[in-house]
Structure formats: C-alpha cells, structure tokens
C-alpha cells in the first residue's frame, strides 16, 4: 500500500483492489498507517483518498542516513574488495 501511495494519492478502493484483503481489513490497516503518521487521508462524500505524508520521506531519508554512515559504507567497500582479493587468490590456487 505504501509502495502504491509512493506513486501518488489513491482512494481506498484503488488501494484495496490489487490486494487479496477484505475491505474492513484494508481500512483497519490504513487506520494503523494513519495513526502512525505515515499517511493521511481525507473523505469527500463517500470516497476516502489517502496520500503519503511528505514528512515521512524526510524521516525515511534520515533513517537511511543514520544507518548508512560513510564509516559503514566505507567498510562495505572494504569487504567487497576483500572478497575480490579472496576470489583472485582462489583462482590462482585452482
């Protein structure tokens, strides 16, 4: 649902349509997402439209930044390189 909302606002029925979930289950799920601040929704007549809360993307971005410090990314590169060296060693021994 979040992936669908990432490409733009959608009505509840649009969100429910590709899912094999009952409408009440979908509504409950959306309520939880809204409760946690990930999405917001508004009702016009009988149609409820949901959209991703833009602030969430900044938070998601921050999450990525927090978990992927340059220190970590540098050591990812280091490990990739060690594995390359190891493979080359194995090739030489083979």
């Amino acid at each position: 649902m979040l992936a669908r909302l990432a490409s733009g606002p959608a009505t509840v029925s649009e969100l429910a349509q590709p899912l094999s979930m009952s409408l009440p289950a979908v509504l409950q799920h959306l309520k939880a997402l809204e409760g946690s601040g990930l999405i917001r929704s508004e009702k016009k007549g009988r149609v409820r439209t949901c959209r991703l809360n833009p602030g969430v993307l900044s938070a998601a971005e921050r999450w990525l930044v927090d978990r992927r410090s340059e220190w970590e990314v540098r050591h990812d590169r280091f490990e990739e390189y060690v594995m390359e060296l190891k493979e080359n060693d194995d090739d030489r021994q083979a």
């Binding site: 971005e61 990525l64 340059e70 540098r74 990812d76 990739e80």
Partner: protein, 165 residues
Amino acid sequence: MTDKLDLVLERTIDAPIDLVWAAYTNPEHLKRWFAPRPYEVTECELDLRPGGIFRIRMVGPDGFDTGHGVPGCVLEVIEGRKLAWTSALGPGYRPNLAGEGCESFPMTAVITFEDAGDGKTAYRAVSLHKDEADREKHEQMGFHDGWGTVAGQLEEFAQSLRTNA
C-alpha cells in the same frame, strides 16, 4: 566511548585474517576501497609503525582534489590484529591544525581484527570524534555513493510531493 561520539562497526567477514589485514593496511589495496565512488584515492602512504605517516590524496570527477593532503599519524600497530591512526596528529606525532587531517575534522580510528575460525575474520572498526557535530559530519560524508543516491532521490521525490500537494 559513547554512542553519541563514536561510529562503531562490528562485522565478521568470510576471509582469512592475513588477507583482511593486508587489504586494510597495504596502501595499494587501501586505494581501491577507501574513497567513496566516484572519488578516487590516487596516492596513499601508510607507514605501519607508531608515529608513521598515513596520507591519502583523493580526487573526484568534479575537479575535487585534496592535493598532497595533510598527513595523519599511525598510533598503534599490532601486526594482523590492531591498527590505530588519527588525523589530529601528523607523522612523528606533531599536531595538525584542527580539521586539517586525512578527514575534514579530527578523528581517531581504531580497527581490531580477530580470527573467527573457519577462515573467517571478525573485525571492529571504531571512529572516535571530539563531539557530536563531528560524528554527524562523518556520518554524512560520501553520500553521493550508494544510499546517498537513494536518499537524494527520496528527497527529490518528497519535494515533488510537496509541490503537488
């Protein structure tokens, strides 16, 4: 040591300890992984003894070039087990100007290696900073690479949402 000041990383890598040590300490190897792409290390000196030089020259496609660079200082070497260096000091322990070391802020790196059996190596890499602001600077370096690109794309996307909202 606190979470607020340091970046701590502990991992086990599926390679024997001598190979891991060589990849971390041999300047020719270091050149291959130290810089965040598309940046490149074109020169590297690492003299593996206390007081020895640690110097890198980093260049980028956008004309970025650290030039000769202000060298850092090796603090401790236990062959195959431990390397500690700092950018706060230069070779022979002579103090650097603040923020002129191998990085744009003073930092000390302590890396320890341990044989984890089965041809694997456990290692721990700690980066120590003088304050939280420096730790944050370090965290956010190099974000043109990998997740940095993702974060950039997310930001653009978030902005497009805001514009459309």
